[in-house]
């Protein structure tokens, strides 16, 4: 499994309190139970902390927008990590 995806999965498991949660690129917000606006903010805060990155204001809610999924989120994260390195 892709290393970044598995690290992301750890964060999701912590935030959604679900040790069995398995992340796939084609998943979106509606596929995960309890993914409401509070949990979304919790998720973004957790990802920023875990990967020591900052999302731009417009990127904070992007993952909840139509057409977005874990795959696009992961690519955004990759870009940020590359820019940081």
């Amino acid at each position: 499994m892709d290393n970044l995806l598995s690290r992301l999965e750890e964060v999701f498991r912590l935030v959604f309190d679900d040790d069995a949660l398995v992340l796939r690129d084609d998943m979106s917000a509606k596929d995960v139970e309890d993914w409401d606006s509070l949990q979304h903010i919790n998720l973004v805060i957790a990802v920023e902390k875990r990967f020591s990155i900052r999302f731009a204001t417009a990127e904070i809610s992007r993952l909840k927008e139509p057409g977005q999924n874990i795959g696009s989120f992961r690519r955004l994260l990759e870009e940020k990590l590359t820019a940081k390195a």
Partner: protein
């Protein structure tokens, strides 16, 4: 039910480690607690989770403990403090964390959260959700965005002054309504002030600038807020965690969050520490190790001249700074004690022989230097000081000692200490262990009382019997009702006393005020001084008239004046006043808690007859007709103006 293997050693290892090592252990710690909880050990899992709640955990990890923590004993729930959070910005994340920190501190809380931005409506509208909730504490979680008026850049100084007064009047009214309608205490945020000044450095000289106006408002708040308002110092958070983090605007813009995500945890922690201060749960004692904590090196090895201390080296000055910090705490009334692995005479030498030591032996209320383990020594210190060990903070440079204490006495707070002594002050101060919502002269001299007590014990040892000892103290008491001058101290004592406390009923300033002005109530306060010094106001009695009976509602006394005759004196004074009220009977009730076992037999020892019980609560009665003969004591009662009666 399938039993999963829970690794207790891993849980202990998490509990006893410093934050750096804990971070790596957290996932395993959490999954073990979940197994424990699934296996039916819900309470035990909650206890581990409570001990894990820490300023050092990040937001997501703290929130992941939420479910485990949400296990309250029903008895605890009944006593839960009703806390309302009224946000300017959103408070969702803040409330989650507040709940977690309070759970961690063992404070059960019912929390009411208002819709963000509606704090004025909630307070001012009768029948609002807040009104129905009947809060005991109202946290007004506002920011500088909630200031209603700002001056125009060209406004005259006089105009700014008027505007500031008008703005202040609105807030005063808000607090007044909270207080008069529900008798609640208020926690009011100070305004956060951006460091990006519109007029640059000149902003602070121009009264009409935004930043200058906010500074003025904060000063006015601090100067004008009544005693029931605790003023939460947002400025200290922006300083400590940095304005760039605090004012990170992204999450305000997207979700109306009050501060940057990195500041949520310290923000909630800081508010929780004030709630704990209001609930009388702040810590009271700082226990210090010696070698490499108060000076560099091991005094037993290098001798009193060889220890590193003070001028001449940066590191030596760092130890002095830490001593200065401890000294300042002691001067405001926090007790200091020593717990050191040392020969006693070596341990004392630096204090006796080095003039450059800031701390003196007389600054310590208890000094234990020996070779026993530190957990036992801490318990011993708690016994000698007659204070709960859960009011202790322990500072030690040695990670092994910290681990031992965290493992064996988890009630003691043991902050991580960095390898560099330059970081010691921050390492302790960042935890806000010693918050207080009031400060009186008695606080300043509290540490002294304990020293005096130690001297009294010496005298007691010399005196051939207790009677002659008490007579030798030349004690004088002042007995007064609750009044404007003592109401803060009275409220503080009512809320802080745990051991000598017959009913453990907590009261706000407003409630005490209402009792004091109700003619059906008797209020007694006793201040005691003796030839060794002034003990201050040390005992309080409230009693309520019911027909021809008086019922003792509250009786608290500071433990440092136990067995001096104050209890007997208090009863004599109460009986005299009951008779003046035309009552023939005095009733008392003892409500047991984990902490007040020492007064279980108080009423019986004072001649009350048992009158049944209600569960663990015991009822007592005493006739106050002619057959009551006053107890004799060695305390002379003075009239309030200082003349003996």
């Amino acid at each position: 039910m399938t039993s999963e293997a829970v690794e207790t050693e891993l849980l202990l290892s998490y509990q006893q480690s410093d934050a750096g090592s804990r971070a790596g252990l957290f996932p395993a710690f959490l999954s073990n607690l979940k197994s424990l909880s699934r296996g039916g050990e819900v309470e035990e899992a909650a206890a581990w989770a409570r001990r894990a709640v820490s300023l050092d955990l990040d937001y997501s990890s703290l929130v992941s403990l939420k479910k485990l923590l949400a296990v309250g004993h029903s008895a605890q729930r009944k006593k839960a403090v009703r806390l309302a959070v009224l946000g300017g910005p959103t408070t969702i994340q803040l409330v989650e964390l507040l709940r977690i920190f309070l759970e961690g501190a063992g404070v059960a809380a019912d929390i009411y959260e208002a819709e963000y931005g509606l704090f004025r409506q909630e307070v001012l509208t009768p029948g609002s959700g807040l009104d129905r909730f009947q809060p005991q504490i109202v946290f007004v979680a506002t920011s500088s965005r909630d200031v209603a008026r700002f001056p125009d850049a060209a406004m005259s100084d006089g105009g700014v002054e008027q505007l500031a007064q008008d703005e202040l009047a609105d807030w005063l009214r808000l607090w007044e309504v909270v207080h008069s309608r529900w008798g609640a205490s208020v926690i009011q945020n100070s305004f956060d002030i951006s460091p990006w000044r519109v007029m640059g450095h000149f902003s602070l000289r121009h009264k009409a600038s935004r930043e200058s106006f906010l500074e003025q408002m904060n000063h006015r708040f601090a100067a004008n807020a009544p005693p029931y308002v605790a003023f939460h110092d947002i400025g200290s958070l922006t300083l400590e965690y940095g304005a760039r983090e605090w004012f990170d605007p992204r999450f305000y813009l997207e979700a109306k969050m009050p501060c940057g995500p990195q500041c949520l945890v310290p923000y909630a922690h800081s508010v929780a520490s004030i709630v704990m201060a209001i609930s009388g749960k702040s810590r009271k004692v700082l226990v210090l190790d010696l070698d490499n904590t108060l000076w560099g090196g091991v005094v037993g090895d290098v001798g009193v001249e060889g220890i590193q201390l003070g001028q001449g080296s940066g590191e030596g000055e760092a130890f002095l700074q830490f001593q200065q910090y401890a000294k300042s705490l002691r001067e405001r009334g926090i007790l200091l004690a020593v717990c050191s692995k040392n020969e006693d005479h070596f341990a004392r030498q630096p204090f006796e022989q080095r003039p450059d030591m800031v701390l003196k032996l007389s600054d310590f209320s208890c000094f234990l230097a020996n070779w026993r383990n530190k957990a036992d020594n801490l318990r011993e210190i708690a016994e000698r000081l007659e204070l709960g060990i859960d009011s202790f903070v322990f500072a030690d440079d040695n990670p092994a000692e910290r681990a031992l204490v965290r493992r064996l006495v988890p009630e003691v707070a043991v902050p991580d200490m960095p390898p560099d002594p330059a970081g010691y002050v921050q390492a302790v101060a960042r935890h806000r262990f010693f918050e207080t919502v009031s400060w009186t002269k008695e606080d300043a001299s509290r540490a002294q009382y304990y020293e005096l007590n130690a001297r009294r014990k010496e005298i007691a040892a010399e005196a051939t019997d207790l009677d002659s000892f008490l007579a030798s103290l030349d004690m004088k008491a002042r007995v007064e009702p609750v009044n404007r001058l003592n109401i803060e101290r009275v409220t503080q004592l009512v809320n802080k006393s745990n051991q000598f406390n017959l009913t453990t009923r907590r009261r706000t300033v407003a409630e005490v005020d209402a009792i004091g002005s109700n003619p059906d109530w008797i209020t007694l306060t006793i201040s005691l001084n003796d030839k060794l010094g002034d003990n201050g106001l040390i005992s309080i009695l409230f009693s309520r008239k019911e027909g021809n009976t008086h019922v003792i509602d509250t009786w608290v006394m500071s433990c440092r004046v136990l067995q001096r005759g104050v209890e007997q004196l208090a009863l004599n004074e109460l009986v005299a006043r009951c008779r003046a009220h035309g009552c023939s009977e005095l009733k008392g009730v003892y409500i047991p808690t984990e902490r007040n076992g020492m007064v279980r037999e108080l009423l019986s020892s004072l001649g009350f007859a048992a009158a049944g019980n209600d569960g663990d609560t015991t009822l007592w009665t005493l006739s106050v007709r002619d057959q009551y003969s006053p107890w004799s004591t060695h305390i002379q009662v003075e009239k309030p103006d200082g003349q003996p009666s």
